[in-house]
């Protein structure tokens, strides 16, 4: 089962390696990991996606909390949330496929950000499943290069408040 943790950290040197060291040292898996400063420059926010059964996810949560530099751990999947990932894809675009690629970009509300005689570079944002869908469709046409940011996520605001 996939789980997304949103972790607030002290923004200090070496903190990221404490988190990644924890995952590797205890054999937890990292599917993706994203980290950047928050509004408060002393605090950064890390989104990490991992997989495991309930016991493992509980351990990951507790072990993250145990790190002295970790301020707060939220398990995003336990609430309503939005998650987004951005991807850059360089796809083959020769005479026979150029129109098809543009159609796919249009359907998925992507953008062409670089053009050459034989390829387009596409920028696309969405949930993990949307990104996967685009990749599946473009693969037969010929993906030459792909760069993904990994997932970032945010809990939805409580509608009753």
């Amino acid at each position: 089962m996939k789980h997304t943790f949103s972790v607030l950290l002290q923004n200090k040197p070496g903190v990221l390696s404490r988190v990644t060291g924890l995952f590797s040292g205890r054999g937890f898996n990292i599917e993706s990991l994203c980290v950047a400063e928050t509004l408060d420059p002393k605090v950064s926010c890390l989104t990490v996606v991992s997989r495991g059964d309930e016991a493992i996810i509980e351990q990951i949560n507790k072990q993250l909390n145990k790190l002295i530099d970790v301020i707060k751990v939220s398990e995003i999947n336990s609430k309503e949330y939005v998650e987004r990932e951005m991807v850059l894809i360089r796809v083959k675009a020769e005479a026979s496929t150029r129109a098809e690629v543009l159609r796919v970009v249009d359907i998925f509300r992507g953008k062409v950000v670089d053009v050459s005689a034989k390829s387009y570079a596409i920028e696309l944002t969405g949930s993990d499943s949307k990104i996967q869908a685009v990749i599946d469709i473009l693969r037969p046409i010929g993906i030459k290069e792909i760069v993904r940011t990994g997932t970032i996520a945010m809990a939805r605001a409580n509608k009753n408040k």
């Binding site: 002290q10 040197p13 070496g14 390696s17 404490r18 060291g21 040292g25 016991a55 509980e58 351990q59 507790k62 072990q63 909390n65 145990k66 002295i68 530099d69 970790v70 301020i71 707060k72």
Partner: protein
């Protein structure tokens, strides 16, 4: 007040934290610090190897309950300390390790004696720091002591660049420490306490399973009150020995791989297991799927990660062990329906079963009139010191025999490397213990293999007048590994025979210590008596039965009820 140097500030901060003794070894990157120490009341115990410094600080911390401090130089000084740091980390011992670092301008340049010790020790410290700004120096040190001694204790390393330590600074006033991201939960949740107490009252076959957390929380008294008021039999982990009096009627001794038959059977058959400050280590549980299968589990621990890590817990209580046990005791004191006498009567059938196990397979060994049995040596040490000595151990058979046959009646009297199992721990730890309590008898129970791992510390013991007594159970083998080879590798003794071992009596003399030897059973008691009466460091070389094994033994991966017995 005017400005002082970084090194003077460090010394001042150590004094502010109540430090009187540190353990260290100098070098280029810490020259300033050692220089500043000369003008203070703090004694530096000059060890002979940095691993010894950290083990000694560890031994000091375990017996005194205070934070142990080690001071090492950069590069090899720091890396030599890593085994000591990992040892303390696994056993949750509060240490502050100060390491020198190359000047800030050289960090990352592969400078002479440069190593990224913060990177190396990240997985084996509770927390660590590289101080980059001179204004952070004193606050960081204060934070290090705070983190080391609170919550689940552990070692904290502070890396100090040489140029920073030489910089002048204004010594900051002491302010309360507040780390927003570090707030251990000291007090138990009343709902959980209530749940636990009700469950305890329903239990027909309860067992208390207690570990090192009881000792680090100084909760022995509260534990004893609970066990006795509620007539609950107690078993201790290796780290928990002494947290409950080992010679008391409710004590079933140690559990686990080399635990007593009674303790392992009781855990297997109990209907309620109350774990206090213990962490369900594999040496305790054996095969996890067969561990305490008939029991509900209450788990008291300050560290939430320990709860349900290996074994699913029914009633967790995250709190300091002393606060939690106090809350339980108060609940039973208030509860009108609870009566200690009725409780004892209710549990009488359970005690009858336990007594049956003890009668069937008591802890024992086959004694001999001529050959020295190691267990007899331990029993004699216990008898002649009235169980009041501080016992440190090395790792292996010596450690297990000490745990089994020395009945520890007091907390902070047994100093052993439990989690990491570090050979070479006992002698430096004994020196640390002796520095904390110069008037007490400190005995290192050692093997002929492991004593050689830090034998150089004999010189430290002599120089600092630590009259530690070393009892070597000399069997000419790396005994514990040999025992496994005997049982599981068709007696193929690969690399466990030590053909060349120093003459320990002569070795003692070479260091200016006293060496004594016993080769027969009759010589054991006189040797121990003489050692105890000697004001100097003494090595006792006991030539024991060579192929004696440690029993009971649960083979690795087996259920704890599948014990090999004597």
């Amino acid at each position: 007040m005017g400005k002082i140097s970084g090194s003077q500030a460090i010394v001042k901060c150590l004094q502010e934290e109540g430090v009187k003794t540190i353990f260290g070894y100098p070098g280029g990157a810490v020259l300033d610090l050692f220089d500043a120490l000369m003008d203070s009341e703090i004694t530096n115990v000059l060890v002979r190897h940095e691993q010894g410094a950290v083990h000694a600080a560890d031994g000091f911390a375990r017996v005194s309950g205070e934070v142990g401090v080690a001071l090492l130089t950069s590069g090899p000084g720091a890396t030599n300390g890593v085994t000591g740091i990992a040892t303390a980390y696994m056993d949750s011992i509060p240490l502050v390790i100060l390491t020198g670092q190359v000047p800030r301008a050289l960090i990352g340049n592969d400078a002479f004696q440069e190593v990224d010790i913060v990177g190396i020790t990240r997985p084996c410290t509770k927390h660590n720091y590289l101080v980059n700004d001179v204004d952070d120096l004193v606050p960081t040190l204060r934070e290090a002591f705070h983190i080391a001694r609170t919550g689940r204790p552990g070692p904290v390393l502070v890396d100090l660049p040489k140029d920073l330590v030489a910089t002048k600074l204004l010594y900051p006033e002491k302010t309360p420490i507040h780390i927003s991201s570090y707030q251990p939960n000291f007090n138990p949740h009343p709902v959980q306490v209530e749940k636990a107490c009700h469950r305890i009252l329903q239990a027909k076959r309860p067992v208390l399973y207690v570990g090192g957390g009881v000792i680090s929380a100084n909760a022995s008294e509260e534990l004893t009150t609970l066990a006795e008021k509620l007539s609950i039999p107690v078993t201790m982990t290796l780290m928990g020995l002494g947290s409950y009096p080992g010679s008391h009627r409710l004590s079933m001794g140690m559990l686990g791989m080399h635990g007593t038959y009674t303790a392992n059977m009781a855990v297997a058959e109990c209907d309620l297991l109350i774990a206090v400050g213990a962490r369900f280590d594999d040496r305790v549980t054996g095969k996890l799927s067969d561990f305490a299968t008939k029991a509900d589990i209450i788990h008291i621990d300050i560290d939430p990660t320990s709860i349900s890590k290996n074994v699913k817990v029914d009633i967790p209580i995250v709190a300091d062990c002393r606060n939690a046990l106090t809350a339980l005791n108060q609940w039973f004191a208030r509860e009108k329906s609870f009566n200690p006498t009725e409780q004892a009567e209710k549990l009488a059938p359970w005690f009858a079963v336990i007594a049956g196990w003890t009668a069937k397979h008591p802890l024992g060994y086959r004694d001999d009139n001529q050959v020295i049995k190691p267990q007899y040596v331990i029993e004699t040490l216990h008898r002649l010191t009235e169980g009041k000595a501080i016992i440190t151990t090395e790792v292996g058979q010596n450690q297990m025999w000490a745990a089994q046959f020395h009945k520890f009646d007091y907390p902070r009297h047994f100093v052993t490397s439990g989690g990491l199992g570090t050979m070479g721990f006992g002698l430096p730890a004994a020196i640390g213990a002796q520095m904390a309590f110069p008037e007490r008898t400190v005995i290192d129970i050692a093997g002929d293999g492991s004593i050689q791992m830090n034998i150089q510390e004999l010189a430290t013991a002599r120089q600092f007048k630590c009259p530690v007594k070393i009892a070597i159970l000399n069997n000419g083998y790396l005994g514990m590994v040999r025992q496994w080879q005997e049982l599981f590798y068709n007696k193929r003794y690969a690399s466990t025979v030590m053909n060349v071992v120093p003459d320990f009596v002569e070795l003692a003399k070479a260091y200016g210590a006293v060496g004594l030897r016993a080769t027969t059973r009759q010589e054991v008691e006189p040797v121990i008596r003489e050692a105890l009466a000697t004001a100097n460091v003494v090595i006792m070389d006991f030539r024991i039965e060579q192929e004696e094994g440690v029993y009971p033994m649960v083979p690795a991966g087996k259920a704890t009820t599948e014990m090999l017995l004597v």
